[in-house]
């Protein structure tokens, strides 16, 4: 059996490892246009100077070789699903018996005049971070377009490098895909306190300057002088490999409950795959590391002949800015996304702010948790996440959800009452331990 994996980030590496563990003799080929395996979420730490390149390598440089995996350093340009091969930019076609599309996503650039010019960066690849770093000596002021997770992490990183940063946001708030307005204000204020102005309702119209970047002009005509522009407005799936093929695509590559695409023997995982979202109840892309790793593993097991259903993903983010941590998951926001948002995603929210820097908010619909935000005190946030993912009716414990005393011991009898939803063996063992 010849397995081919297109892409070598979270999903691709997870799939390659899973396939190798399951079948020591399998032929595994990974196609990657980057020469080593590194952690993309760590790029902002690298940009800030907290981590060096070696610490970004979460697998050794000789990983593929040591695992007996063939690495082809090239870029896949097309899939021939009839012949069963991946066509490459440079090398000869790579035939497959089973193919995993793990091509990831790329930064979404706004439409502004000159936006594709040299000196305007996303923060997605090591080459982006290195490109920013090599220009830094000539940069006093930078503009970050977008206040998504990557935009804010890039802004904080540049600030640590001594750059004056302004953030331009098209919407009314920061982190609009992750936080509701009342949670976002904590971070808006925090960035402003650290000398990073956030300009809302500012859609970029043009990048100014001849040759060198001199500033960003927004739709109102106002100009923000800068020598560097970083774009952090989210990502779009890399669909170049599948375009023109019979593989069905919506916003991303559509997959079934086993992460198979519409074409036999072709699977997809990670930021390119549009799989079921547990909370939304419809196919969605949650471009997140944990989802990619899990999807890579589940897809690999299905490619290897198991019949393992994918339980679905949920949006979940954990991040810390200037020492203030936040964990948020599910539908903590009603802002329309790239697939179009809907109203009525939650019917109730409960919130509590026990101190100036501790805030908790839970969004409910039909007595189930559909989203939450915890700021400041983030320990045990996973308990809210598991209750949300299991779609369990929490009306019996709703008054305890916000409190500091929410712990697993408190929840365990409740979980035992809903045991059919908690199928993990470790959960079942604990329920059995109670003897009820």
């Amino acid at each position: 059996m010849r397995y081919v994996i297109a892409g070598a980030s979270a999903a691709g590496v997870s799939a390659a490892e899973t396939l190798r563990q399951r079948d020591p003799a399998a032929e595994i080929v990974v196609i990657s246009d980057e020469e080593f395996i590194y952690s993309k979420p760590m790029l902002s730490y690298y940009l800030a100077g907290h981590q060096d390149l070696e610490s970004l390598l979460y697998r050794p440089r000789d990983f593929f070789e040591s695992q007996g995996i063939t690495a082809i350093y090239d870029r896949g340009v097309a899939v021939d699903v009839v012949k069963g091969c991946v066509e490459l930019e440079h090398g000869p076609p790579v035939p497959y018996d089973k193919l995993l599309l793990a091509t990831g996503a790329s930064p979404r650039f706004p439409s502004a005049e000159g936006i594709r010019r040299d000196g305007i960066f996303g923060l997605r690849r090591i080459s982006d971070a290195d490109g920013i770093l090599t220009r830094l000596s000539g940069v006093k002021e930078a503009v970050v377009l977008g206040a998504g997770l990557v935009g804010l992490k890039a802004a904080a990183g540049l600030l640590e490098r001594g750059v004056r940063v302004k953030i331009l946001v098209e919407s009314r708030q920061v982190l609009s895909q992750m936080l509701d307005a009342s949670s976002a204000r904590f971070f808006q204020e925090l960035f402003e306190q650290h000398g990073v102005p956030i300009v809302t309702r500012a859609a970029p119209a043009a990048i100014l300057g001849n040759g060198r970047i001199e500033g960003v002009q927004i739709a109102s005509g106002e100009v923000f002088p800068c020598q560097l522009v970083v774009v952090g407005k989210g990502v779009d799936p890399n669909l170049g490999l599948v375009s023109g093929s019979a593989i069905k695509v919506d916003y991303g590559v559509l997959v079934d409950g086993y992460l198979g695409t519409s074409v036999e023997n072709v699977y997809a995982a990670g930021d390119v795959a549009q799989a079921m979202d547990i909370v939304r109840g419809e196919p969605w892309i949650n471009s997140l590391w944990p989802c990619a790793v899990e999807q890579g593993r589940v897809a690999a097991l299905n490619m290897a002949g198991e019949r393992l259903p994918y339980k679905g993903s949920t949006r979940m983010n954990s991040v810390q800015f200037f020492g203030l941590p936040v964990i948020s998951a599910g539908l903590a926001v009603l802002t329309p996304g790239p697939l179009g948002g809907r109203s009525g995603e939650h019917d109730t929210s409960i919130e509590d702010q026990p101190s100036a820097t501790v805030y908790r908010k839970i969004f409910l619909k039909d007595d189930t948790i559909v989203g939450f935000v915890v700021i400041g005190d983030i320990e045990r946030a996973g308990l809210l996440k598991v209750l949300m993912e299991k779609r369990v009716n929490v009306s019996a414990i709703q008054d305890r959800l916000l409190g500091p005393k929410l712990d697993f011991g408190f929840l365990l009898p409740f979980i035992a009452d809903n045991r059919e939803r908690f199928e993990e063996p470790e959960m079942q063992e604990l329920i059995e331990t109670l003897g009820v």
Binding site: A10, S14, S39, K40, P41, M42, Y45, Q51, S55, Y58, R59, W289, P290, V293, E294, R297, M316, N317, S318, V319, Q320, P325, I327, A329, I378, E379, R380, A381, G382, L383, K385, V386, R400, K405, L406, D407, F408, G409, F410, L412, P413, F414, A416, E424, E426, M427, E429, L430, E432, T433, L434, G435, V436
Partner: protein, 177 residues
């Protein structure tokens, strides 16, 4: 794989496991040194009260000692993008030097048993205790005065659960008829 289990029939909620765990994971490995030097020491397991109520008869209100369940697959390992949280011989461990403190693992853990103190702290199954002290493998099991904490596979622990408890805890007075 060998893991740690708590028999809730025997747990009296004395917190000896927490204290032993905190000492085991301290620099000095000595309670008095920890107190005198104001060294910080954190336990990787905790005693909870089932149902969160004050102690009462039945399952609600009984104490139970819980730590990492070393899940397979482990959501915390999936969530970790720095390579700190990893699986080794079935055990889930965090390499502190690689931990960035992003708390993705805290978000992912369905049991809420990862502590966020500079780096992610969790049960590491006392990796060097036997060599260091030549004593029992696990500090918490060693410290448990009632034998509630048991090391072994779940199949082995199930046999323990099948055995009757030879002693009983004081029961509160029955409510008047």
């Amino acid at each position: 794989m060998e893991r740690l289990f708590c028999d809730p029939r025997k747990c009296v909620g004395c917190h000896a496991c927490e204290l032993a765990c905190a000492i085991e994971h301290s620099q000095s490995k000595n309670l008095h040194s920890i107190i005198l030097s104001a060294e910080s020491a954190a336990s990787r397991r905790a005693v909870y009260v089932l149902g969160g109520e004050p102690y009462r008869v039945g399952i609600g209100g009984r104490p139970i000692s819980l730590g990492c369940h070393h899940c397979d697959p482990a959501p915390c390992v999936d969530a970790c993008f720095s390579g700190a949280m990893h699986k080794e011989n079935g055990q889930t461990s965090c390499t502190a030097s690689r931990c960035l403190g992003c708390w993705m693992c805290v978000m992912a853990c369905p049991y809420g048993v990862i502590t966020a103190v500079e780096t992610a702290l969790k049960c590491d199954l006392c990796p060097d205790r036997v060599e260091r002290e030549g004593r029992a493998r696990y500090a918490c099991v060693d410290a448990c005065p009632t034998g509630a904490l048991v090391a072994g596979t779940f199949q082995e622990f199930r046999q323990v659960l099948d055995q009757p408890v030879e002693w009983s805890l004081p029961q509160p007075p029955s409510p008047p008829a």
